[in-house]
Symmetry: C2
Subunit: 500 residues, 2 copies
């Protein structure tokens, strides 16, 4: 222990530390999806593992989630193949690169796509049940027990023009939304059984780094005291994202925060990102957030059209909830409207506080009641109908399945204002959001400086890093848990030295 003065509380000098309170080969900060997966691999590699978890038990945001994992490639996972789907690695890469655009990490995408099918086998071997059944509905998560579904834009334009349509959402089988509990229950128990030491209620807040730049341990707050813990081999930061850190959110995604409900576990405070940057790392993609606009189910709402307050369409309505969130949020004041025929109308299951602002037997009536400029909504619908009657949507290429002329009165116009809507029912205001920025790392987890150097002894995974998912527009559910567990494992294996 030491009383040396240091200013930057997120990193301390190794040479000043006189003695340590504890030590391990590998110190993993965070026992969520990424941290537990890292610990699993490290224990398999035979190294001594100490996990520090800030909460009173492991699980993290992965446990709160449905635990969808976005998997495929290699001809198909066992689940995809059993359901009759083939999925080539190149097809999956094409999709992921398209989804991430300029922000995508090509190396990360490739290594993920090449090994995702194996990752599925790993999850099953943990004892997680995956039922060989495909759930074809347009939905957020199956409440029945099927394990395969579409959790992205595979069926929607422009993806369906470029990539072969394959479902890649793999979710533990259960009646109800319990994937996270099932998966993390198995994983945490297995990691403990493998002999990892886990200390809960302990917050790693500061790295210990030597004059050569090597990370040599962490300082953690345990029982209200700072404990100095040496990492003989490496430290792995798997502390989640920063969506629960109000100051960081305000600095990095202020525009999104205005409309969004932070979604994650309470300790998504950005600790890992801040420690990593303090040790010389670089935080990237910090301005990007996932925005979940789950206006469906019911899926039949998809047959309506979304317009902004100018009466203009702005997206194909069969887009995935994140793509809907991206384009919807882009409209002025985040104010968007769904025009639907009575036969397709029903309230959204996940979004409440929406408002019917116009009804009528003609579009002109609806338009007038809602206060849209005269002819604006009428013109849009007239054009939409003319092409829809031919099974075409030359503007946004909505799939034929959802394309039908809006001609059966009465009609309703439902207002979804991002500032007002609530989701899910009963919770705080706003659509669910979480962060997609974090430390820049190599796929194998080494934390990089802005100059591209590796910080020796420091690894990171999960939402602490800028990972696989980097855009809202191309986000698929399962990319975060898939990324966290897959690259958590890879970081654990690499840090344990199994790959060196």
């Amino acid at each position: 222990m030491t009383s040396e003065p240091t200013f930057n509380k997120r990193v301390r000098r190794y040479e000043d530390i006189k003695s340590f309170d504890d030590s391990a080969d590998l110190v993993i900060c965070g026992f969520g999806g990424a941290g537990a997966s890292a610990a699993w691999e490290a224990r398999k590699a035979g190294v001594d593992v100490l996990v520090l978890e800030r909460a009173s038990d492991g699980g993290g945001s992965t446990q709160m989630s449905s635990c969808e994992m976005y998997l495929g490639g290699s001809g198909g996972t066992e689940l995809q193949k059993a359901c009759g789907f083939e999925d080539s690695t190149e097809n999956m890469i094409k999709y992921l690169e398209m989804a991430m655009g300029a922000a995508g990490d090509k190396d990360r995408i490739r290594i993920y796509a090449e090994n995702a099918a194996e990752h599925f086998r790993w999850a099953e071997k943990l004892g997680v049940p995956y039922k060989r059944a495909f759930y074809a509905e347009r939905d957020v998560v199956p409440l029945s027990d099927e394990s395969l579904l579409h959790t992205g834009n595979e069926r929607a334009w422009p993806y369906n023009e470029v990539c072969k349509v394959v479902p890649r959402g793999h979710v533990p089988s259960a009646d109800g939304d319990f994937g996270g509990t099932i998966f993390m229950g198995k994983l945490l128990q297995t990691v403990r059984d493998l002999g990892a030491r886990v200390v809960v209620d302990s917050r790693a807040h500061t790295l210990i780094q030597d004059d050569y730049g090597r990370v040599r341990g962490v300082v953690a707050r345990i029982d209200n005291k700072d404990k100095f813990i040496e990492a003989r081999r490496a430290v792995i930061l798997t502390c989640g994202g920063f969506v629960m850190n109000e100051e960081m959110v305000q600095k990095h995604i202020p525009h999104v925060r205005k409309v969004g409900l932070p979604w994650g576990n309470p300790w998504d405070k950005g600790d890992g990102i801040l420690m990593g940057v303090a040790a010389g790392g670089q935080a990237i993609n910090m301005g990007e957030a996932f925005i979940s606009f789950a206006f469906y189910p019911p899926a039949k709402l998809t047959s309506g059209i979304f317009v902004n307050k100018r009466g203009q369409r702005f997206v194909n309505e069969d887009s995935y909830l994140a793509r809907m969130g991206h384009y919807g949020f882009q409209q002025d004041d985040g104010e968007i409207y769904l025009l639907t025929q009575n036969e397709d109308f029903e309230r959204s299951a996940y979004l409440v506080n929406t408002e019917i602002v116009g009804t009528g037997d003609t579009i002109a009536e609806v338009e007038a009641e809602a206060g849209f400029p005269e002819g604006s909504l009428e013109g849009t619908v007239e054009l939409y109908n003319r092409f829809a009657a031919k099974g075409e949507d030359p503007f946004f290429h909505k799939a034929k399945e959802w394309l039908k002329p809006l001609v059966n009165a009465p009609f309703a116009l439902v207002k979804y204002n991002f500032k007002d809507i609530k989701a899910p029912a009963g919770t705080d205001q706003g659509v669910p959001i979480f962060t997609l920025g974090g430390l820049e790392v190599r796929p194998t987890g080494e934390v990089l400086t802005p100059d591209g150097q590796i910080i020796p002894g420091l690894f990171a995974a999960g939402r602490t890093v800028a990972g696989l998912p980097r855009t809202c527009v191309g986000y698929s559910s399962g990319m975060s848990v898939g990324d966290a567990t897959f690259f958590g494992r890879l970081a654990g294996r690499t840090a344990a030295g199994a790959n060196t």
Copy 2:
């Protein structure tokens, strides 16, 4: 000098430095608009100043610019008042807060608006000529000698509904675009006359920080050797932005880089940001960039309408070039089109490589030739015309001045693809871009940690910081040079201790 090993090359430990090669009360890294303004104040306060400039002479990006400064408030600057404009501080604050939205720094905005009129007097006292004449044209910069003009969205919706319309662009008087040379010529000479020592061809690349967190100096590369320079009072980082650092651009604004021509001086390499972060600072707003879509002059093009490839309008065409850039870039593939009557047609002065993709005596003809969905452009124009005939634009509220029905054939549709257009004529591909992210600082220049602590002995200003301008959509020309020189002065004065 020392040979101690350190990993993070951007910060070294003060306690390890055995001797210094040089020293000063205040070490200022960068001799552009911000650095020179800081040096001016510090010398006035009587402290010993050493300026390190990476280029072979001072000037920075400010010298390359037109040196518009966005000024007003306090009832009006001398120039505004002489031209018959009154400008209250509250009106200016309202405009700036609206322009920056959730990303804005309210404290910074207020202190700027309250003191911008004084800042204008300071610039005039340097000997910079400002002619009492208002240039009313919709233009980028006057090539005649007037000094006051609109350089933002003051006249355009939605600003004109909320704020009193006042021009705030203050530009040195000259025939031609020489503002930067005139201003920086005066400022650099004055700073040298005041006794600041300036060392050119010297690159400050690493901060020296003690165990208490205080910044105590810099390491600078001079004559191909690392020199250790002690700062007895403080270091001020005024090293410009990072738009010339290809790696950082790729990490932080990859989507913009694809379409943009980096605009700035060659040493906008992000050195200041990287040093500041290494010392414990926080970089914010890193994903935001200014995108200059100067489709005018000629101003008469504003009477046309811009549409995306779906034939939809997306902005009031009388918006300022940055607002045009923001919304234009948002359209799919950055592909936008200007529909104009022959009587208003002329090639854009600043953008080349545009393409006429449709002409005709009817909109239907143009639409067909350009390959737009049948009825799409026709519908948009029909609606636009119907309201324009009444002097209204209920969709985007283009000002009456530019509102006229598009009825006089022939018509032309000009394609502006962000990927293809070049600007200015003859230069590299893309519209001009620069970065709006950097270190988080207090208005007085102190660099802040993510926890909001001040890093003792470290200040920053100019595009090294996240300053006054933080959004493209609300950017006005003159916000960067205004911010750099104003807050450069404030940082210089504060660091010199005049305010303590």
